[in-house]
């Protein structure tokens, strides 16, 4: 484990900044605090892993940061813009332009082919069909899936499906990528491939990446690990490149 460090990295200044985030859920009569005052920030081009046991609030934090969920208290600023000041429509458009999502269960639409799945966020943001097709193919090619473009998700392996999901997340060339347990459903080889892709994206310097995981070996591929427990940031550790786990040592996520 590396040393605990402050979040700022490389003088870029923070692009994502959350302060005092609280989020409660009602479960029958009782209230459960999923987030109980989280302060957290990510610098541009940084790759951060959110770690913690089940139910510690990782996914809730990611949802609040991405504007999918609204915190009960606290603020989220992305590049200085206050998310809570945006309307649902503005947040939606912001996601379409600046964010990409990768989920544990891939969440590809089963009725569309791989290529159509990748086209979808482009079409949603109003890109023309022809343009969307061209750009989707280009991203798929980058993912090594050009020959699988016409296949339905069910005809692809788990790793291929997740690479399609990554392609979908990248299609609109977003600056932020949210990955919620991206390797959770993959074997170690496939997980390694996906993490390699994420790492190379981070190395481009153009993407800020937040990964939710409870797998230490996955988290160790990030620049920094933020440990959550009971809805609070318990600890943070910065990993220098030496501490980062090499791809070969990855274990299967669960």
């Amino acid at each position: 484990m590396g040393s605990v460090a402050e979040p700022s990295a490389g003088g870029h200044g923070p692009t994502i900044e959350a302060t005092g985030l609280e989020r409660c859920y009602r479960l029958g009569e009782s209230r459960i605090a999923a987030l109980a005052g989280v302060d957290f920030s990510v610098a541009r081009g940084e790759m951060v892993a959110l770690m913690g046991p089940s139910g510690c609030g990782k996914t809730t934090l990611l949802n609040c940061l991405a504007g999918l969920d609204t915190p009960d208290a606290g603020t989220v600023r992305i590049d200085g813009t206050l998310l809570s000041a945006m309307s649902d429509r503005e947040r939606t458009d912001y996601r379409a332009r600046h964010m990409g999502f990768i989920f544990q269960a891939f969440n590809l639409l089963p009725v569309l082919s791989a290529q159509e799945n990748v086209e979808l966020p482009l079409l949603v943001s109003g890109v023309s069909s022809a343009d969307a097709r061209r750009r989707a193919l280009a991203v798929l090619e980058r993912m090594g899936l050009a020959d699988r473009a016409r296949h339905a998700p069910t005809q692809l392996s788990g790793g291929q499906q997740q690479r399609v999901a990554v392609a979908r997340a990248l299609a609109t060339e977003p600056t932020i990528i949210w990955a919620d347990e991206p390797t959770g459903n993959l074997d170690s080889a496939a997980a390694g491939e996906v993490l390699d892709i994420l790492e190379s994206l981070r190395d481009d310097g153009a993407h800020t990446i937040v990964i939710v995981t409870h797998d230490r070996s996955v988290a160790e591929r990030a620049d920094r690990i933020v440990h959550l427990r009971d809805g609070r940031v318990e600890a943070q550790e910065r990993l220098d490149s030496a501490a980062r786990r090499p791809p070969a040592q990855l274990s299967r996520g669960g």
């Binding site: 939606t92 458009d93 999502f101 979808l120 949603v124 022809a130 919620d180």
Partner: protein, 1114 residues
């Protein structure tokens, strides 16, 4: 109503109720054994009130349809029964006389009678002594409570005191010694009003007559009989409903009326009242049997028995059975049985003495006589004289039959809606189960048996079911009563009282049928749901591939898919089976099914060649199924042919064939569309560009992709919707056809205002009489036309099948020809206008025109035939669709012999005109040919400007007196056809109930879709899809289903309606096929709007799905 589809309603009610009780007992026993399952089953009901209400409403629809059908039938039955009872009082049978081959008691009399008219008014007078003879013949029959002779007339009556008058009041003469059983006349104050207390020239006036004339006790009345007006005084106003019934009636002492009318010692009816009070009808048949068998002369009966036993008549009679009217058929069936006996039995004598049978037998025998050269006239004469009419029984039969017809029609048309309703119930339960899947999975994991899961679902379903059936039955009755109220409002203007009463057995049937139908569907659904995969259900994951997916098998179409696979590989088997069926020629329906199998089989066999030619197996399969569906639809869209085979099938058989065809047409259409769903995404590509606000390409791509992916669910939804649109379309087009036939009164009455049916023996020359008589000025009329109908045979020598066939000659005078306003639909070459044609007829030289019914129109399966199966004359060489008629020579001959007359047909009168069928020929033309034509007995009048038909009719009525019956043609038409049109409207409204099923079904599917796709919605929202486009995607998906359903339903509906009208036009040439574009357009728009309205809620829900929450349901 006693029977439906030939089943006794009492038996049906008992069986259904017993089944409901049995089901209830089983459910209660199960519930008591495991109360915890009941608790688990029903606990969701109060929690989700809104959804529970929706479910109950959805489930109630089928019951509503059944209940509406029965309640409408009941109301019609009780109305007709009420009319019969009120127009007869306690009289059960009536003896009347039809002398000298004058008008017979027929269907039209029955209709008149159902409207409250006394049959004696169309019969002849006979000696009062006949009462004693009838008493003798009845020979102290234990069923007879009382007998009385009476004289009934219909005369104009004026109230001299009030200066009011009425053209038609029944004047009834009753004997002083009125049997107790006939009931007592009572004043409106409740005092007895015996006939014996009437002084000379005193009368009782019943309440309706008093209201009509504004008369009061002591008023001086004048009865405008045949001679001078007879003055009388109103002794008292008597209550309606006893003797004399509810029609406006004036009651006088018989002897006085006979003197005043100049017919001393004559009566025209003998009233018979049965023993047994309310149960009196059970005596009707034995009394009628005894009286009829004794009234008919043995030698006449023996001769007729011999004639009817001849192979020609016997076979003809047997073969024509299917094509005879409902009311006549049972009598004929009994007659055919009696012909097996070597000699005339009492039953045979009673049958041939039945006026209903005689009305058909007489013209058919005349026709046969002329065909065979045998003289049947002595037999006819023997059949003349007194005859018994079981009036009350007939009325009740008529009521039941009408009710049964209505209920059957409603139910048959409702079947499509009920089918949709059942699919809806299934859908609703799949939806319910989808929500509870994890819970059910957990229950199974914890050791709950599959059977117990079924029970758990059953308890919930049974509760919904009971509530829905109760609600549905109530709603159905409400709908029916409301519609009856609409008709009643209209009928009251014709003083026709409608009573709406729903019989308990109908309620029981509707409730039980609805309940059982739903329960069975629920059990099947529960059984399939219980076969869930425990692990995936508990984790709410999709059912694994390769296993059965009980949850939504129907939606996902696993079984259907298996059927489709079998079909695809079974093309040759289908082809062979089809060929075998066609070769057997068992029935037209099996033939049709055979041809369908051949077409579908052949289409499916194209798969291999297509694959060989380089198409992918999947594309080849789709092309084949598409082709098969299309072939099926095209095959059943064909109109019926005009072959002899169809004539043997008859109307009912043909309609059954067409109904099945309609269903298969829809199925074929949907099948073809389902196979071509891939075209939708291709079309979606046309949406090249959009914006974040409206990403058209994304919306189109998503909406179409889901439809293609869930092909079976899509097909099921399209099928449900197109079925209901189909029924509404068929109803609309049929109604438009009848509206065309029955709303242009100018065409129907041929431009005349007043009609008079005259007894020429009493008044041989109407024109001369009118010139002299009081009451009406000759200048009130601009034209007066005379007409008489002669039964003849006609032949067209150049026709393909030139043979003598029966028809009528409508012999018309010069006045008729100059006043006729009926348009001609066809004219011969050289005649530029209708006037030219009529002028040519007036010039003579054997010119004639035929009625539209005498030319071919559509399939002739419904051509009316006589009792021996002989079809009427039809002209060859011209059809209804032609623009002109070739000048055609037709020969006509009198049934009683005489020289044939040569007629040149130069026009066709619009089939909608009601002045008579057959051939119209000027009287002069017949005289030239040496015919002695009978005296004119029908007259038509056109009133002069400034004279109202009503005033002129009153004057005519006064002047003609008992020699004829005057009707205002337009009013008569409105009364009968207005009812027909209103009933048609009701039917359309009823069809709309089915539409509700279809629309609710689409709503349920839409909300189910949203529930299923929650997580995918979350992904799309995360990817940046706004709420509105999200909702639009769902709306577009539902809309595509709606549009396809509307298109398929409308096209197939129009095609079926065209074929049905083609069929009906054989017997009712006035009905014509036309597409009511506006109405259909409105239906399409309204049903689409309703569909949007119901799917917009789930669509908006989709837009409101919280992405974080939806993704968490992962």
């Amino acid at each position: 109503m006693d029977a439906i589809f030939g089943l006794s309603t009492i038996v049906l009610a008992i069986v259904l109720a017993a089944a409901v009780v049995a089901a209830g007992v089983v459910i209660i026993v199960l519930a008591l054994r495991r109360p915890v399952l009941v608790k688990l089953g029903v606990r969701h009901i109060p929690r989700r009130r809104g959804r529970s209400v929706l479910i109950v409403v959805g489930l109630a629809l089928s019951t509503t349809i059944v209940a509406t059908s029965f309640a409408t039938g009941d109301a019609i039955a009780s109305t007709v029964r009420g009319l019969v009872a009120s127009s007869l009082g306690r009289v059960d049978e009536i003896v009347v006389s039809y002398e000298g081959g004058r008008r017979r008691f027929g269907d039209s009399d029955l209709q008149n009678f159902a409207a409250g008219q006394i049959p004696a008014l169309t019969g002849d007078d006979f000696a009062q002594d006949e009462v004693a003879r009838v008493e003798d013949l009845l020979d102290n029959h234990p069923g007879v409570a009382g007998i009385a002779g009476a004289l009934a007339r219909q005369y104009p009556v004026s109230d001299v005191t009030r200066q009011t008058s009425s053209a038609a009041i029944t004047v009834l003469g009753l004997p002083v010694e009125l049997p107790e059983a006939l009931g007592r006349l009572q004043t409106t104050g409740g005092d007895a009003a015996p006939i014996g207390t009437l002084g000379p020239a005193e009368v009782y006036l019943n309440q309706p007559a008093a209201t009509l004339l504004g008369a009061e006790v002591g008023d001086e009345l004048a009865i405008d009989g045949d001679g001078a007006p007879v003055p009388t005084v109103v002794r008292a106003i008597v209550a309606a409903g006893a003797v004399g019934g509810t029609q406006p009636t004036l009651v006088a002492e018989l002897g006085w009326l006979q003197e005043a009318d100049g017919v001393p010692g004559s009566i025209n009816e003998i009233l018979i009242v049965n023993e047994g009070g309310a149960d009196s009808l059970r005596w009707s048949a034995p009394i009628a049997l005894q009286l009829r068998s004794r009234l008919i002369d043995d030698s006449v009966a023996a001769e007729l028995h011999r004639l009817l036993r001849m192979p020609l008549t016997r076979e003809g009679l047997r073969d024509s059975l299917d094509r005879q009217p409902e009311l006549l058929r049972p009598l004929l069936e009994r007659l055919v049985v009696q012909l097996d006996a070597p000699a005339a039995t009492d039953e045979f004598k009673a049958l041939i003495g039945d006026p209903r049978l005689l009305s058909g037998l007489r013209p058919a025998l005349r026709q046969l006589s002329s065909q065979t050269g045998q003289d049947f006239r002595p037999v006819f004469r023997g059949l003349d004289g007194l005859t018994v009419v079981e009036l009350k029984q007939l009325g009740v039969d008529l009521a039941n039959q009408l009710a049964s017809v209505f209920t059957s029609v409603f139910l048959v048309l409702g079947l499509f809606s009920i089918a949709t309703g059942i699919m809806l119930v299934f859908l609703i339960f799949s939806l319910l189960a989808a929500d509870r899947r994890p819970e059910l999975g957990m229950a199974r994991a914890l050791g709950t048996q599959r059977g117990q899961v079924i029970q758990l679902l059953l308890f919930e379903g049974a509760l919904y079911d009971a509530a829905a059936s109760f609600l549905g039955a109530l709603a159905g009755i409400g709908v029916a009563l409301l519609s009856i109220e609409v008709i009643a409002g209209y009928l009251r203007t014709y003083s026709f009282e409608v009573t709406s009463q729903v019989e308990p057995r109908s309620l029981v049937i509707a409730f039980s049928a609805g309940l059982l139908l739903t329960l069975v569907t629920v059990i099947i659904a529960a059984w399939r749901i219980a076969r869930l995969n425990i692990v995936s259900a508990a984790r709410n994951l999709p059912e694994p591939d390769g296993e059965t997916r009980p949850l939504s098998d129907l939606l996902r179409g696993q079984q259907l898919r298996a059927v489709a696979r079998t079909l695809l590989t079974g093309g040759p088997a289908l082809l062979v089976a089809g060929i075998a069926l066609v070769l057997v020629e068992a029935s037209v329906i099996l033939d049709g099914i055979g041809w369908s199998a051949i077409l579908v089989g052949a289409a499916l066999m194209l798969r291999r060649p297509m694959i060989a030619a380089g198409r992918s197996p999947r594309a080849a399969a789709r092309s084949c199924t598409g082709l098969a569906g299309l072939a099926l639809a095209v095959f059943w869209a064909q109109p019926l042919s005009d072959g002899p085979r169809w004539q043997a099938v008859g109307l009912v058989g043909s309609l059954e064939y067409l109904a099945l065809g309609g269903l298969l047409m829809v199925v074929g259409g949907v099948w073809a569309a389902a196979s071509a769903l891939e075209l939708l995404p291709v079309g979606a590509r046309a949406f090249g560009r959009g914006s974040a606000r409206l990403p058209a390409a994304a919306i189109a791509k998503l909406a179409t992709a889901y439809l293609v992916r869930h092909r079976w669910r899509t097909s099921l939804a399209i099928l449900m919707f197109s079925l209901v649109i189909f029924t509404v379309t068929v109803a609309s087009v049929l109604l438009a056809g009848t509206r065309y036939a029955y709303t242009d009164s100018g065409v129907q009455t041929a431009g005349f205002d007043i009609g008079v049916e005259l007894n020429p023996q009493l008044l041989p020359n109407l024109r001369a009489h009118l010139a002299e008589a009081d009451g009406v000025a000759p200048e009130s009329f601009s034209t007066v036309g005379g007409q008489v109908e002669i039964a003849v045979q006609a032949i067209q020598l150049d026709a393909a099948e030139g043979r003598w066939q029966s028809t009528q000659l409508q012999v018309v005078d010069d006045g008729w020809l100059s006043g006729i306003g009926a348009p001609l639909t066809h004219r011969a070459p050289g005649f530029d206008t209708d006037a030219d044609v009529w002028a040519a007829l007036r010039r003579g030289s054997g010119m004639a025109v035929v009625h539209g019914s005498a030319i071919r129109a559509g399939a002739s399966a419904t051509t009316a035939v006589d009792l021996f199966g002989a079809a009427p004359f039809r002209m060859d060489g011209v059809t209804r669709e032609d623009d002109a008629v070739p000048t055609t020579v037709v020969w006509a001959r009198n049934l009683d012999g005489g020289p044939p007359v040569r007629l040149t047909v130069i026009g066709v009168v619009d089939a909608r005109s009601t002045l008579g069928r057959g051939i119209y020929v000027p009287a002069a033309a017949l005289q030239e040919a040496g015919w002695v034509s009978p005296p004119l007995d029908r007259y038509y009048f056109t009133t002069s400007a400034g004279v109202t038909p009503r005033a002129a009719a009153l004057g005519l009525s006064r002047s003609i007196g008992a020699a004829g019956a005057v009707t205002i043609l337009d009013e008569q038409l409105r009364a009968t056809q207005g009812i027909r049109l209103i009933l048609n409207q009701l039917l359309t409204g009823f069809m709309a109930l089915g539409l509700v099923s279809g629309i609710v079904a689409l709503g349920v599917i839409a909300s189910r879709t949203v529930v299923e796709r929650r997580q995918q919605i979350g992904v799309l929202r995360a990817l940046g899809m706004r709420r509105e486009p999200m909702a639009l995607t769902f709306l577009l998906e539902s809309s595509l289903v709606g549009w396809l359903g509307i298109a398929i339903g409308m096209v197939t509906g129009i095609l079926l309606a065209r074929n049905v009208i083609g069929l009906l036009a054989g017997g009712n040439p006035e009905i014509e096929f036309g597409i009511p574009w506006l109405q259909l357009g409105l239906t399409a728009v309204a049903s689409y709007a309703a569909m949007l309205l119901i799917t917009v809620i789930p669509a908006l829900q989709a837009g409101r799905v919280d992405p974080a929450e939806a993704l968490r349901s992962d």
